[in-house]
């Protein structure tokens, strides 16, 4: 038996996963109570997520700071200020889009982590594949060249539009970056537009650097990492919730540059890279 073949382990791993899988299926054959929870918790107003969706976290925090009881004062949040589109001023994060306020404000630290997950994955790709090359693409046809030249500028424009309107409409930095990266993929396959990996990496690392810097500046201005220190403006206007606007733009640039680096590395390694 070779040393690397550790078949007993594989067998037991399979068995374990199978048991877990069967256990997952078991509720189908049972008449249980399901996710039944305590009376206190089944009231939806008692949950943290409720206040996230109301966008009135600061309000409940102010109430809680007087009396540290979470469950007593939940009725008061019903009378929270109603948000009027185009009129309400200086809200806790002036985004019109609920998802953005959760992703970049209440749970901004997680988004930072996800940004780094993407960054480190692409970095790993360039480390592992830097010595290899896979250039096996056919010569582009006339139709491809014309089509790509027509479509690509519009795709980049749409990408920029989406990350600039991340706080107003569905979308944001991640999908915008994916659209921009698709545009670069088109230009690479369609008209062999040979962009430099090192330039893209420069954009990528600088954008990441400034995201962290903006978040760290919150320590100075608000006394808390990722705190919002720029004016939030009027809900629904383009120039509202300034910090989220800037960070989402940087995220869009970063994700676009990152995915383009990944595409280029898969296309022909880092051969044209002069480093």
């Amino acid at each position: 038996m070779r040393e690397s073949d550790f078949n007993v382990g594989k067998f037991f791993a399979f068995l374990f996963v199978l048991i877990l899988f069967l256990f997952m299926l078991s509720p189908l054959f049972e008449e249980g109570d399901g996710a039944k929870i305590d009376k206190n918790l089944s009231d939806i107003k008692n949950r943290v997520s409720y206040f996230h969706s109301l966008k009135s976290v600061k309000e409940i925090e102010r109430i809680l700071s007087d009396n540290n009881d979470f469950s007593k004062y939940r009725e008061i949040t019903d009378s929270a200020k109603t948000v009027i589109f185009g009129e309400s001023k200086d809200l806790e994060n002036g985004t019109a889009n609920l998802v953005t306020s959760i992703v970049l404000d209440y749970r901004g630290f997680d988004t930072l982590g996800e940004l780094i997950v993407l960054f480190i994955s692409i970095l790993g790709l360039t480390i592992i594949l830097s010595t290899l090359s896979f250039a096996k693409f056919e010569e582009p046809s006339f139709l491809q060249i014309t089509g790509v030249k027509f479509v690509t500028p519009f795709m980049i424009l749409v990408g920029i539009y989406i990350f600039l309107h991340g706080h107003l409409s569905p979308g944001g930095g991640f999908p915008a970056g994916a659209i921009i990266a698709t545009a670069t993929l088109f230009s690479l396959i369609g008209c062999k537009f040979n962009y430099r990996v090192s330039n893209l990496k420069f954009i990528e690392s600088n954008a990441g650097f400034f995201v962290i810097l903006l978040a760290t500046l919150g320590l100075y201005f608000t006394g808390s990492f990722f705190g919002n220190y720029l004016p939030t403006g009027i809900v629904g206007k383009l120039y509202s919730s300034s910090l989220i606007l800037i960070i989402y733009s940087l995220v869009g640039l970063k994700v676009g540059a990152e995915l383009s680096v990944g595409i280029k590395t898969l296309y022909n390694g880092e051969k044209d890279d002069d480093r």
């Binding site: 007993v8 943290v48 749970r107 996800e114 690392s205 919150g218």
Partner: protein, 508 residues
């Protein structure tokens, strides 16, 4: 004392990992300087936070100006911060070795190492279950990259195996979080641990098993341990140190936080679980089996790195076994064994690498005549072995002694624990003494050339050995640390109060 200092331990490495790429494109030495200076910054601020925790108790760091449970928060407890300082010392050793070597990709790898540092710090400090998941993700991806950088077939194979196993683990973890969030509507660890008792039995079991399955992948526990054989043997020296020393700390801490603080209920002397099946029996079966299988795998291996890898997995399982007894003595034993394993395993990897230097195959026979070739590192290797096995006066000895004592208390499967521990010690002694015997075999026909040791290796080897000796000759110091850590682990209501301020828990 600034309460925002803990967040800088995460933010500064991330910030400089981007800078390391930018500046490294001009000169590779700059990125190495950045790496070392960031670690020194982290060590100094870690010690500052340690002092502050000693004075004021647990420290809460709020992120985004939203108080918990609404926003994300970091909690620095005594356990997490003392684990953190231990982690930084091991990381310093590994990165010194990395810096001493020439590499074309130094800027990229130092950036990965900085993110590794940030993610492991994040895992130890965070008080939010989804944030924990994000950091675990970064941690495992950087592990995958670091395993694969040797550019050999074996290393790519090892990293692919690790990738598969961690992605299974991560998806199980995500399922668990989904269930928890759907039922409780919160992601804060303290809030979850307050309300976990109120969920129905069925969902409780469901969530518990999801988390158990996911964490077992990180923990190198038996059904999920097949990646060890290639990952350890195929990766570089400093990566071995990180895998054996750092991953153990991180996995151990995740286990403590999830299965003792969140799902468990501490009483005065032991932990209990309000689940419909016997959790302790389950833990005992898994970890006991894992100890035995890993020891046998180490015994049957010929490659030295593979032996050390399986051995570190088995000692991690032994720590978990003594944790899962749930007794105060058991937890103390676990901490004592953990200290000795975390420091001695990097020492063993370091010294075995130096002893086998210049030999083509890294198998058992490359240890022959090692003492004449490299006397310093042979002595360090022997110190490491004695610490790991539990030679009297080392922390590991006291740990195994306490485990024996706790096994004589009234817990189920007493004899089984005793048998497992004795069995593991015996096999460990056998294969380590086989290696140590090879060191002193003299081959008179061959003229021996002394190996030249790099200064960095000598420095880090002596640093680790002196830490072990310090812990051994100052038993009261060690006892003090371990007792405080144990108290902190048992202090569930303190953890919740430091986060929610208003948290009340019935001490059952």
């Amino acid at each position: 004392m600034n309460y925002n200092l803990p967040v800088l331990l995460i933010a500064i490495p991330i910030l400089f990992s981007f800078l390391s790429l930018i500046l490294g494109s001009f000169n590779k030495i700059l990125s190495k300087i950045i790496l070392i200076s960031v670690i020194i910054f982290n060590i100094i601020s870690g010690i500052c936070i340690y002092n502050s925790v000693l004075k004021n108790g647990n420290i809460l760091t709020v992120i985004g100006n939203y108080l918990p449970p609404f926003g994300i928060n970091l909690i620095s407890t005594y356990t997490s911060i003392s684990f953190l300082i231990l982690l930084y010392i091991v990381f310093l050793v590994a990165s010194l070795i990395f810096v001493s070597k020439n590499d074309d990709r130094a800027d990229k790898i130092s950036s990965v190492l900085l993110l590794y540092l940030a993610s492991s710090t994040g895992i130890l400090l965070t008080g939010d279950i989804f944030n924990l998941f994000v950091f675990i993700e970064i941690f495992s991806i950087s592990n995958i990259i670091l395993i694969s950088i040797k550019d050999k077939k074996l290393s790519i194979k090892g990293s692919l195996k690790y990738l598969i196993i961690t992605s299974i683990g991560a998806s199980l973890y995500l399922f668990g979080i989904g269930f928890l969030y759907g039922i409780l509507g919160t992601l804060n660890l303290s809030e979850i641990s307050l309300n976990f008792d109120n969920i129905s039995y069925f969902s409780k079991v469901f969530i518990f098993l999801f988390f158990l399955g996911s964490i077992m992948a990180e923990l190198e526990v038996f059904p999920f341990n097949f990646w060890i054989s290639d990952s350890y043997a195929g990766s570089k020296n400093y990566v071995n140190i990180l895998l054996s020393g750092l991953s153990s700390i991180v996995a151990l801490y995740i286990f403590i936080r999830l299965f003792l603080t969140v799902f468990g209920y501490p009483t005065f002397i032991s932990f209990s679980y309000s689940l419909p099946f016997n959790v302790k029996t389950l833990f005992l079966t898994i970890f006991g089996l894992s100890v035995i299988v890993n020891e046998l795998a180490a015994l049957s291996s010929k490659n030295v790195k593979r032996i050390l890898g399986f051995s570190s997995a088995s000692s991690l399982s032994l720590i978990l076994l003594s944790l899962s007894t749930g007794l105060k003595n058991g937890v103390m034993a676990a901490m004592l064994i953990a200290i000795s394993v975390i420091i001695s395993k990097p020492l063993l990897f370091l010294s075995s690498h130096q002893i086998m230097k210049g030999k083509g195959e890294k198998n058992l026979n490359s240890f022959i005549d090692g003492f004449r070739r490299n006397p310093l590192f042979s002595i360090l290797f022997i110190i490491g072995v004695f610490t790991l096995v539990g030679f009297p006066l080392t922390p590991s000895f006291w740990g195994k002694f306490l485990l024996f004592i706790s096994a004589t208390e009234k817990i189920s499967y007493t004899t089984l624990i005793l048998v497992i521990v004795v069995f593991s010690i015996t096999i460990e002694l056998f294969y380590y003494f086989r290696l140590m015997h090879k060191l002193f075999i003299k081959d008179e026909n061959i003229k021996v050339e002394k190996t030249k040791n790099n200064f960095v290796y000598i420095f880090s080897g002596i640093l680790l050995a002196s830490i072990i000796i310090f812990f051994s000759v100052k038993p009261y110091f060690t006892q003090n640390i371990v007792e405080k850590t144990t108290e902190d682990i048992f202090d569930k209501s303190g953890y919740i109060k430091s986060c929610l301020k208003s948290g009340e828990i019935d001490d059952r």
